[in-house]
Subunit: 164 residues, 2 copies
């Protein structure tokens, strides 16, 4: 088994510390967010996040090493790859959703949330326990869709960018 505790968290025997060790880095959760939103190619991720290519490459490699993301070939000649979440990665959805909920309350753009999450089935809003406020279904990551909210800015939101 790989050692869970190392580096700065040495001595922290805790699953939260363990989770932070894997995903606590500033950019990592934003990469995972973009993968959830369907931004999967290196150049698209780089364009959306606006981080240095070597930093992005490093973070993606770390996510692949940790089994949170895998590379998938989408073109043969020349070979091109995109990045997709593994099950371990998809299981981060509750973490992202709880951060989104808290962020919507305390750290949203002035105009309101940039992203709204709704139940694919009925269009209802998803509450902070990931239950559809409209039909009461306990939803998973495949049951929802994200759409640009009032705080989204054209050209700045991965969903609007994809639609452009």
């Amino acid at each position: 088994m790989r050692p869970v505790l190392k580096r700065n968290y040495e001595g922290q025997v805790c699953s939260i510390a363990g989770a932070l060790e894997l995903i606590g880095e500033r950019w990592t959760l934003l990469i995972v967010r973009d993968l959830f939103l369907g931004v999967r190619r290196f150049d698209d991720l780089q364009g959306d996040l606006g981080i240095a290519r070597n930093v992005l490459r490093d973070r993606l490699n770390r996510l692949v090493d940790e089994g949170i993301v895998r590379k998938r070939r989408y073109q043969e000649r020349p070979e091109r790859f995109e990045y997709v979440l593994t099950e371990k990665g998809v299981d981060l959805w509750p973490v992202l959703h709880s951060m989104l909920t808290w962020g919507d309350r305390y750290a949203a753009p002035e105009n309101g949330p940039a992203t709204l999450v709704e139940h694919r089935g009925c269009g209802g809003r998803i509450d902070d326990r990931r239950i559809c406020e409209s039909c009461g279904t306990a939803v998973g990551p495949h049951d929802v869709k994200a759409r640009p909210g009032p705080g989204a800015r054209p050209g700045r939101h991965p969903l609007l960018r994809a639609a452009a």
Copy 2:
């Protein structure tokens, strides 16, 4: 209104990015975790986290500035303070709980989770939607208690440390 977007996240109009800006720093969520567990005094936090005092002071000041934590005087002569979560801080519980759940599955100590969270009312386990598996109650942060789990190590777990 304070600018939500700055520094490294410039251009990221997103509540997740906004949340990460406030709580994304490596140690910050572990400080919040300790405050939830009842570790509230500077020296106790420093002892439990094992980080440099100036780093801890810096992170605590940031949390106070952001309204996530407030200082409370617990002794007059000499004046001594402890740190407690504000409502904004307590509202981070879903974020911590979702990280705990994911970490228990993917990044727990070898012996199992170091911390178990149970419903204060009936002792039931809390599922990943923060619903009691035993009685079905949707629980809030004040309805649960944490106790050391199989992966806890004496002297290394804030709850065991407090009991010593």
